[in-house]
């Protein structure tokens, strides 16, 4: 009996290792860049940190599925490297021999990504789940592109300027024409027989060209 229990117990880690395979169908690779993220404040990656990771992942699964049966033991890790990268799988709490499918794990991680990152003081870029791309914050797009508004303003000013110049030039020309006409009209005044009445009122009188032939009296030789 004891032997069987011992055998079973020794098989469990072996089984666990068999379940967690790099490039496995339901396995994910995780890569942490702690030194890049924290620089001088970087912490050492050790067993306890690994424990925290598994616990956080179990939390994510619990949150996603709503089942409170997930435990640290449900998350199996393998192939750790000095990079600080490793593979992990999540086993089904009801049946430890089967794995939770990849999609479910992905959804769970996406849901709690922020919490997982915060637990390790990292970000989407420095705590990478290869195969689960981070959802980057989309840049805020205003309803109307700002540049069009500025363009509209400047265009409006320039058009007004052009119209103002053209119209003012036009008006000036009209004024000039009217002034010229006015001067001519002033000279005409009231006319009778081609002679302005004003000049008739003067004392000098007007020389009537029809009666002055002085120059022609003497014919030219």
């Amino acid at each position: 009996m004891l032997a069987r229990v011992l055998l079973a117990l020794s098989l469990v880690p072996a089984l666990a290792l068999a379940l967690c395979q790099p490039d496995g169908q339901d396995a994910y690779k995780v890569r942490l860049s702690i030194k890049t993220a924290l620089g001088a404040n970087a912490y050492e990656w050790n067993e306890s940190e690994q424990f925290l990771f598994r616990a956080t992942l179990a939390f994510a699964m619990r949150k996603y599925t709503g089942q409170e049966t997930f435990n640290v033991s449900s998350v199996i890790v393998c192939d750790e490297t000095p990079r600080v990268s490793f593979w992990f799988v999540v086993t089904n709490p009801n049946d430890t021999a089967t794995l939770i499918p990849k999609n479910a794990v992905e959804e769970a991680i996406r849901l709690s990504r922020n919490r997982i990152n915060s637990a390790f003081l990292l970000s989407d870029k420095t705590l990478q789940f290869l195969g689960i791309p981070p959802t980057l914050a989309p840049p805020s797009q205003p309803s109307l592109p700002v540049w069009l508004i500025v363009f509209g303003v400047v265009m409006g000013i320039v058009t007004t300027g052009i119209l103002a110049l053209i119209i003012s030039g036009f008006i000036q020309r009209k004024k000039k024409d009217i002034e010229d006409e006015d001067e001519e009209e002033k000279q005409e005044g009231i006319m009778e027989n081609g002679i302005s009445c004003e000049t008739l009122e003067g004392k000098e009188g007007v020389n009537n060209g029809a009666y002055s032939h002085d120059e022609d009296r003497l014919t030219q030789l």
């Binding site: 600080v84 700002v146 540049w147 320039v158 052009i162 053209i166 030039g169």
Partner: protein
């Protein structure tokens, strides 16, 4: 109705400012720093300054003298100097038309960047996200956010000149706005200045000589146009020297600024490259994070290649050799520099929106100033023509010209527009201007007569020009320009098919491609159209004179 009294500048300072505004333009910001860098930095200043004194100043002086004496635009002035030489003026106008058509596109780009500066984060500071919001757009990741903004969001450039694409609405709108601004400014008065600088020959002295020539805007007729509005006794001698010196000082100052930005960008790119390579290696081979440092990167690469050849082979295509020298050598010139490099620098400054607005406003002022000079070079001779002034009002004439240039300029807002723009930038006003300036100087010295010219100048400013000017006009400058001409032609012939830099969106960088035959035909056309005016007009005048002589001799024979 020809104007009985020519409009004139309100005071000499206005004329000087107009000339400075014309001469100092985008070429100072772009072209000169690039040339300095190509020819070994500070060393380029020596040939540049020598050429300024020996070639630039004398020619500048010459053009101002012609304009002020003849009191007409380039066509009228040259026809008055010698009827056979009227073609020089026409050639200048043709070159100015080409220039005007493509130059305003730069202002359109400046407007585009300016309008996009009014945002929380500058749009060229970050890469946009791909459609599934998980990564950045690959084209942007491979190049940089500023490159991406320029090539994709501003130009939406196609992969080669054959690939036409449609007109880009944003660019077209900005171009229309630029033309309206130019129209507004030209309506207001007689000011305008512009500047262009183009080179072809890689040799430092050739580049210096040509840079000076074009940097001062000689040969386009703009200086003649400006000077034609001067009072007869304006002391243009001093002004010529002042303007040329200001222009060169601006070029040198701009290159100081530009070099610092080059250095910054090169260092930044180099360090990013190193980071990327390092990350790639530690991720693939699962090494500890800080095991690979920039100094031992190469050792690691060879070690890993030797120890794990299969695994290394999978990533070997992604290993880009990082080299600071090559980063520094890829001097971006022309439009790339002003927009990509400077926007790169601005995005890393604090208060980047403010600097961005200031910088692009400055670019706009330089560009519009240059545009007004080019437009003046075209409008002045047109309005000297009695026929046109009689039938069209000033506003209509300028408006029609602006509309025509705007419509043709729209072709530069297509997806392949930037490649056509580069053709115009490189060929429309380089060779032709050399030719025009050469003909100008030979005409004045040997056809019109140097003695006669001296007397004209004495009448205007009260003293004869110093012997230095006379030597440079009659001997030094023509020899220099002929030398430039020969080198230019030889380089063009021996250089093989001309090539251009096309943007490859998959690689995220520019690749060299050859021009297709029809593009080469356009290049040839650009060169020939302006230069052929000179012999053509001479020929036509010759034929006319022969006909008149024949008529006169007929009348005499029939009368007797």
């Amino acid at each position: 109705m020809v104007e009985d009294s020519r409009p004139s500048w309100e005071n000499p300072m206005q004329f000087v400012l107009a000339c400075v505004s014309y001469a100092v333009g985008l070429g100072n910001v772009w072209r000169f720093p690039y040339l300095c860098q190509m020819h070994g930095g500070g060393g380029f200043l020596i040939p540049y300054l020598i050429m300024l004194v020996v070639e630039g100043l004398p020619l500048f002086y010459l053009e101002l003298a012609i304009g002020q004496h003849m009191r007409q635009g380039s066509i009228g002035a040259w026809s008055a100097i010698n009827p056979y030489m009227g073609g020089v003026g026409i050639a200048s106008v043709v070159v100015s038309i080409f220039l005007t058509i493509y130059y305003n596109v730069i202002n359109a780009w400046a407007f585009w960047y300016l309008f996009h500066s009014f945002q929380g984060t500058l749009p060229w500071a970050e890469c946009p996200l791909s459609s599934n919001l998980t990564t950045y757009v690959p084209e942007c990741e491979k190049s940089s956010s500023t490159d991406y903004f320029w090539y994709r969001e501003t130009l939406n450039i196609s992969s080669s000149i054959e690939d036409h694409g449609g007109i880009q609405m944003g660019q077209a709108l900005c171009l229309v706005l630029s033309w309206m601004v130019v129209y507004l400014c030209v309506l207001r008065g007689t000011e305008a200045t512009g500047k262009l600088s183009d080179l072809a020959d890689p040799k430092a002295w050739i580049d210096a000589a040509t840079q000076i020539l074009f940097s001062l805007g000689l040969g386009c007729g703009s200086l003649i146009a400006f000077a034609s509005y001067n009072h007869h006794n304006n002391n243009f001698e001093k002004q010529a020297i002042v303007v040329s010196l200001i222009n060169s000082a601006t070029s040198i100052f701009a290159s100081l600024v530009t070099f610092s930005i080059y250095g910054f960008k090169a260092t930044f790119n180099y360090e990013s490259c190193l980071d990327r390579t390092q990350l790639l290696l530690i991720n693939t081979f699962d090494l500890t994070e800080d095991s690979i440092k920039p100094d031992n990167l190469d050792d690691w690469i060879s070690h890993l290649n030797a120890s794990f050849p299969d695994k290394f082979a999978t990533i070997s295509s992604q290993i880009e050799g990082c080299d600071l020298e090559s980063e520094l050598d890829t001097a971006v010139e022309g439009t790339g520099l002003a927009f990509i490099v400077y926007s790169e620098a601005i995005k890393n400054m604090g208060l980047s929106q403010l600097w961005s607005v200031l910088y692009f406003s400055m670019l706009l002022m330089l560009g519009i100033g240059s545009m007004l000079g080019n437009v003046a070079a075209i409008i002045t001779p047109l309005r000297d023509s009695a026929f046109l002034t009689r039938h069209f009002r000033k506003e209509t004439l300028i408006g029609m010209m602006c509309l025509f240039c705007c419509l043709v300029g729209l072709s530069f807002t297509t997806r392949s527009g930037n490649y056509w723009f580069t053709i115009f930038n490189d060929y429309a006003a380089t060779f032709s201007l050399l030719f025009i300036v050469l003909i100008e100087i030979i005409t004045i010295c040997y056809v019109y007569g140097l003695k006669k010219f001296e007397k004209d100048i004495e009448l205007m400013i009260g003293h004869r020009p110093h012997w230095y000017w006379k030597i440079t006009w009659s001997v030094v400058s023509p020899v220099l320009i002929i030398g430039l001409f020969i080198f230019y032609t030889a380089d063009y012939i021996m250089g093989g098919t001309p090539t251009y830099q096309a943007w490859d969106s998959n690689l995220g960088k520019t690749v060299t491609k050859e021009y297709p035959p029809y593009a080469q035909a356009v290049i040839g056309l650009l060169l020939v159209t302006s230069m052929i005016c000179v012999p053509l007009v001479a020929l036509i005048t010759f034929i006319k004179k022969k006909k008149e002589q024949a008529k006169e001799s007929k009348i005499i024979t029939t009368a007797t």
